[in-house]
Amino acid sequence: MAYLLLIVSVALAWHWWATRNREEELQEQLRKLKRELGRLDASFESFRQEYYLRLAKAGSEAVEQSVPAAPTEVTTDSTGSQLPTLPVPEQPSRSAYGFLSQAAGADLLSPFSGTARPAMRAPNTPAVAPPVAQSAEAPIAEPPQPPEIAQSPVIVPSAPVQSVFSDPLTTVAAEQTVTDQARKEPWPTAARVPTLKTADTDQDSSDVDLGEVTGLSFWTDLEKRLGGGLLNKIGVGVLVIGFSLLLGYTFQYLGPAGKIGIGYLVSALLVGGGVWLERKPVYSLYAKGLIGGGWALAYFTTYALHFLPAVRLVESEWLGLILLLAAAAGMIAHSLKYRSPVVTGLAYALGFATILLSHATLFSLTATLLLSASLVVICLRLGWFHLLVAAPLAAFGCHLVWLYPRVQAAKFAGQPLEHGFWSAALIAAYWALFLVPNYFGRGRDSDGRPQLRLLLNLINVGCFLGLLAYQSQYPEYRFGFFLTVGAVYIGLAALSRRRSDLLTMRLFVTLGAGLLIAAIPTRLTGNWVAYLWLIEAEALLVSGFLLGDWYLRLLAAAAFALLLGRLAIVDTQDATSFTLAGARVCNSMIAFGVAACAFYFNHYWLYRRFRARISDFEWNASRVFSYAAACLAVAAVYLEKPTVLLAVAWCVLAVGLVEIGLLRRDPDLRTQGYFVILLAVGRLAQFNFSLDRDIWFVTQRFWTVALVAGLLYFVSAQVGRAYRKQAVDDGDETVRRVLLHIASALASVLVWFEVPPALIGPAWGAMALVLLELGKWRDSRDLRLQGYLITLAGLGRLFQFNYGLGQDWHGLSIRLWTVGLFATLLYYLAWRRGAWGRRPLAGNDMPAWEAGLAWERGRPARLDRGVSPRFTSELSDTWEEIPPRAMLYFGSLLIGILLWFELPLVLIAPAWAVMALVLFELGRWRQSWDFRIQGHVILVFGLIRLVRFNYGAETPWLTLCLRLWTVSLFAAVLYYLYWRLRNADPALSEIEEIARRLMLHAGSALLAVLLWYELPALALAPAFGFAAILLLELGLRYRNLDLRAQSYATALLAFTRFVTVNLLAEQAWNGTSLRVLSGGLVLGHILYLFFVLRSRSTSGARSTAGQLHRYESRSPEILSTLAVAGVAALLRFEPAPAWVAASWGALAVVCLFSGIAWRDLHFRFLGLVVAVATIVRTCFTNFTAPVAGPDSLAATGVAVFSLFCCYGLLLWQRERESATERQTGVRPHRFQKYMLPACLFAATALMLVLTYQRAPQNGLTLFWASEGLLLFLAGLVARHQAARLLGLGLLCFCVLKLFIYDLRGLETLARIISFIGLGLILLAVSFLYTKYSALVRRYL
């Protein structure tokens, strides 16, 4: 494993080496391009000079014949040389461009010709005319006419063509060159792009297949990446791994020395060759790969000298280590040449790895110190702080690797660690070494550097403390060690503050303070720790204020938080105490009290004093101290444990806080008081309600609860008074109301404890009645709310207790007395609040309860009691509309449950149905929505009761069983209500209309369940199927969507039943499987439904306009899916396993054919899904069958053949779609575009596998090649490109197979040779590609 890791690490090192300095590579390419362009410029200039000389010669001859000689002017070309300004020639003919092409020669075909050409067209454009010539006073010759440049197909380039012959970088550089050249040109040139945008050019561009051009560019780019970079790296990597394997192999005639020599020789060749090639810019990238690989191989060979047994030449471990270090040093030295932190870092990593790989001793560990020191120096000098961050990890990591086994051994032996002191000293040395960068090299600070230093310091101190803790041998020195290191950090922080290094100062002061805090518990115990932490925190806080540093104050806050944690976790457990004036006082109570005082002092004196210097955020944060102080005070009271009176004591403390808060107008103190009140109430609930001991004939519970409730009423009154004076805000008013509710709740609970159990419910009912009337009289919303809540509690009590009271009292059960009384009370309250439905006022749509509220809304506000309008509650609040109606509902609920308790079991559901009828009629009479809703609810419960109980009632009554009687009665009620509600009240709300329709569905469902009870299992699915047909016909006849929906649901049920029952039927009737009979019948029903719905649609597709509801538009597709799935399932279970795939394939063909013939997209989709299932089935069942006989071969052959049939059908479909597209412009569905090649590919793949399994292995390649040829021919005949490409690909695959399959499973030696040979070949290919890349690209 270690060997493999080493190989991988070396390979990774090589990879980093080879890919380093990407920027340098790009620069190198840029330089190369510039040189190339310069060469082109030079050749172009020479050409241009020659061209103008020839033109001049021709012009002078013409002038000599016509006009006197004109003076020649001199201009300057782009290179600064002077050229004669020549007369512009006449409009050049096409032959002139042909001449240009010939003259340009190979340059025009070079990758940069696309950019160079426009410059060559300079003289031909209208603007090309030299400005000198234009400004000439007496032009010798007439200016030439603008040539029709764009008409020249030879010269005019188009953008896509340009992209073919040049990579993006080249293009950008070339465009830049063109721009520069255009800027330098003494006259405007034809390089200006607008001149190229002519009609012909556009036409040419549009004729070019952009996809093909882009694809070619992609392949070109891929080849460049492969040949220029990737092959080189892969080659070197493979070569190195090959030689690594070679070193580990034992040869008969080659000893270790020979192998080591070969390793060094090859590495030297690689490094030497790389260094030699590196001088040539073209091979820069290639050479770096060689150098990296060479060093990696050299390092590995050195490693093998001692650590690889097969080639161990060096027996001394020290010598091996020194050699490895030397190799690493060589790599480091070489790497520094490149000034690359990555490369140097890798070299150092290998250096550290050397120590890790060797059996490190304490002495060898000092090498890490040296390595670290050198790394620190190099990084500081070269400013490589990123690299420096990794240094402590490496150094401390090496030390940990050395330390771990020794510590484990020492622990196992129970002895102290050997060399523990020296190890600690070494760790301290590392720590000191990595502190150095904080005070050197700061002049080079740049962005991110301080953060890196912060990271470095964190790693340093973390590793330092972690390692020392791990090897800790002397715990008794911990206190001194922490104090010392903390003091050192505090001192370093002071030093950093003097150097204005704020970040480091804060880190160090954090570390120092943290270590000091950590030191205290190592020596001191008890409350002293809290006292000392408090002192340190106070010191930090005061220092923060004096030095004006918020960070110190933040640290102080953290220390205070720590102190709080300590007090909460540790000091609360401290039970020690002392005696003061005869009373025992808990030590921790003093500590908590002192801390509370300190916290109050900090907030109300210290922070308030420096309020102007601190931010609002910090001030707000300081308020936390106040709350913490309150918590500490609460805890101090708790620590004295006054068990019975604790709640009262807390309540008194809270009242004091609230009173002081009201006096000082301090919301924080009031808030603390409120929270303490909550605490007191919680304590009361948790403890005091269980106090049954009497004091003065009254229980302790009563005294304490009443006292707290009284205090709450007092606080409520105080706050309310302040609120009326507007001395407190709305939040306090809210709290006041909450306190009022809590007080009343306490009173209610007291009632619960004092009143006999059977009377609690009615008592609470009476209390609610009083509160509601009182709330109405006093106009208090809170009192009314309490009334409603207590009513609810009374209801709960009735449900929980009173329904179980069956004893008689005066001839009636107690349950009837109490529940009836409560129900009457509820109906009374509902009537009193006007919730009994619409009053019989003609033309008035307002419900009675709403009218009642409207009357109350009109009452004048009670201002005469000194209550400001702001505090007047309003009865018109929305929420108050709910309770009266809820009372009505609860009244009916109580009666319904009473029926359940009183009637025989079989009659409950019918009784509820009758009650529902009554409620519906009552709702119609009172026009009350609430009564109708109650009717619905009771109907639902009756339905549930019916389903749960009455279906099992098989007792006969009047020759029929009770199930039939009761279920039929219920179904009749449902159908009656469906009819009655539709005819009687057409203005039903939307939800009631839904409920009415649900009644119809429920009635049908009841009948369906009856069918289940009456019919045998196998017959149920056909029955459901036929019922679905009947329902659909009825639904279509009466245009009833609900009936049709029931039809679909029943069809789904039939299908489900078919899957769970009929599909498993093994019985036969006269040789015919019942599975086929029943399943076929069900599927026939489903298909009938499908055809009926399909005939209702207008076009046979999705549209069902005017016939079916839009929700049903998908139903034909769903039904057809079910039918096809059912057929597929039958085919899965009926024939022999081998023939399942074949039958599925046939089904796919049928579906596809049907879909194409009917132009039904969904059927085609189903066919493709079945085809996919055929493929999967063939792959995983037919191909993996344990016994593959001729039957299986035939079945698989049929499956594959059916897939090819699918492919043929899809081809046919494509032809039809193409014709349609040409006629109508409607494009075929997108998925068909992919299905055609996918089907072909799958069929071909299955055919290949079938051939692989059945054909003789020796002739397999030939078989496959024949099949590829057939595919190619088929593609030609069918004019299908994918088939042709697949055939060609298959042929290529056959070629590859010759090489790949033979190489698999070779012996070790052969594998080594393969690796080395392949590496050399790849290197050679890469070398050749690098050398002749331009030539290769020309022939693409």
Binding site: V947, Y951, G952, V1009, W1012, L1015, P1016, A1017, L1018, A1019, P1022, A1023, G1025, F1026, I1029, E1033, V1059, T1060, V1061, L1063, L1064, A1065, E1066, Q1067, W1069, L1074, L1077, S1078, L1081, G1084, H1085, Y1088, F1091, V1092, S1095, A1129, R1132, F1133, A1136, V1176, C1179, F1180, T1181, T1184, P1186, V1187
Partner: protein
């Protein structure tokens, strides 16, 4: 009118087939077995890919089987030598028709009242004396041995270990445990399919060896009577039926073997399918051979041959 004739035809078909179903549809199973089988096939297909990736060699499988077999024989008592010899002889006869040739099959009898037979990787087949005790013929023994040989032949035994072995190599014992548990849960979805395949393969193997497949059917019927089956009678309500279907689905998932009646149907179908190509099938039963513990390979009795179906 357009739909009238099809509707009438469909109604007539429904009435006719409904009448047939009313007469023949007693004792119909209601379960999700059909869905479970299809889902199990899909999961088994998916698992085949993974099994192919972590496939171990035959030598490794033999080594594992050897170690496990040693453990089994060290914990369990071995049966009498004569019985072991007899089982070995019958096993050799059946194993000749196994597909895998890199496995050397070994047969052993365990002295146990438990009615069981199992196979280990590498071809180690164990059968308990309890199971031998309820057998009546050599053909039954051949069917059982063929079943277990098929498990090895189809790599069912080693497939249960392959993931664990790979996980142990990568992640250690904890990973092995986790993967073993995970794969065991996964495999339960199609373990019944494996058993069905083993039944079919074992039947075919025994038939190729000349043994009567209907004897295996008889054995299964006896075992079904002995061990009973899950009650799948008609429930009292549709809700209970739905619950029974769900519970049955869960039960089927955790059940390693199909119900005996299902196995009987499968074996019968396989036997009929396999003998359909035979012109004059003759099968050996070997009741006397079994009683005297004399293998057919040693002494073939003419009276034990039988032709045709029962």
């Amino acid at each position: 009118m357009k739909r009238t004739i099809p509707f009438i035809l469909l109604t007539l078909f429904t009435i006719g087939i409904g009448a047939i179903l009313l007469r023949h549809s007693e004792d119909s199973e209601v379960s999700m077995r059909a869905v479970g089988e299809v889902a199990g096939e899909v999961m088994q297909d998916a698992d085949k890919i993974g099994q192919r990736l972590v496939k171990i060699s035959g030598a490794e499988e033999r080594e594992i089987g050897r170690r496990v077999a040693r453990m089994v024989t060290s914990y369990e008592r071995i049966g009498p030598e004569r019985q072991r010899f007899y089982v070995r002889e019958v096993g050799k006869l059946v194993a000749r028709h196994a597909r895998r040739k890199d496995i050397g099959y070994e047969f052993e009898v365990l002295e146990s009242d438990e009615v069981n037979a199992f196979a280990l990787p590498g071809g180690h087949i164990f059968i308990t004396s309890g199971l031998l005790g309820i057998m009546t013929s050599e053909a039954e023994l051949a069917g059982v041995l063929g079943h277990e040989i098929t498990h090895v032949d189809l790599r069912h035994c080693v497939e249960r270990l392959q993931y664990s072995i790979a996980a142990r190599k990568v992640g250690g014992p904890l990973a092995e445990l986790a993967v073993a548990f995970g794969h065991d849960m996964y495999e339960r979805a199609y373990s019944e399919l494996q058993e069905t395949a083993a039944d079919e393969g074992g039947t075919v193997m025994a038939m190729h060896a000349g043994y009567d497949p209907w004897e295996t059917v008889n054995l299964m019927e006896r075992m079904g009577d002995k061990f009973g089956e899950l009650d799948r009678s008609k429930p009292s309500s549709p809700g209970r039926e739905a619950g029974q279907v769900v519970v049955g689905a869960v039960n089927d998932y955790f059940q390693t073997h199909p119900p005996f009646r299902q196995r009987i149907v499968n074996i019968e179908k396989t036997a009929r399918r396999s003998q359909s190509g035979e012109r004059s099938p003759r099968w050996y039963i070997g009741r006397v051979n079994f009683q005297t513990l004399t293998a057919r390979s040693i002494e073939e009795l003419p009276g034990e041959w039988w032709s045709g179906e029962p």
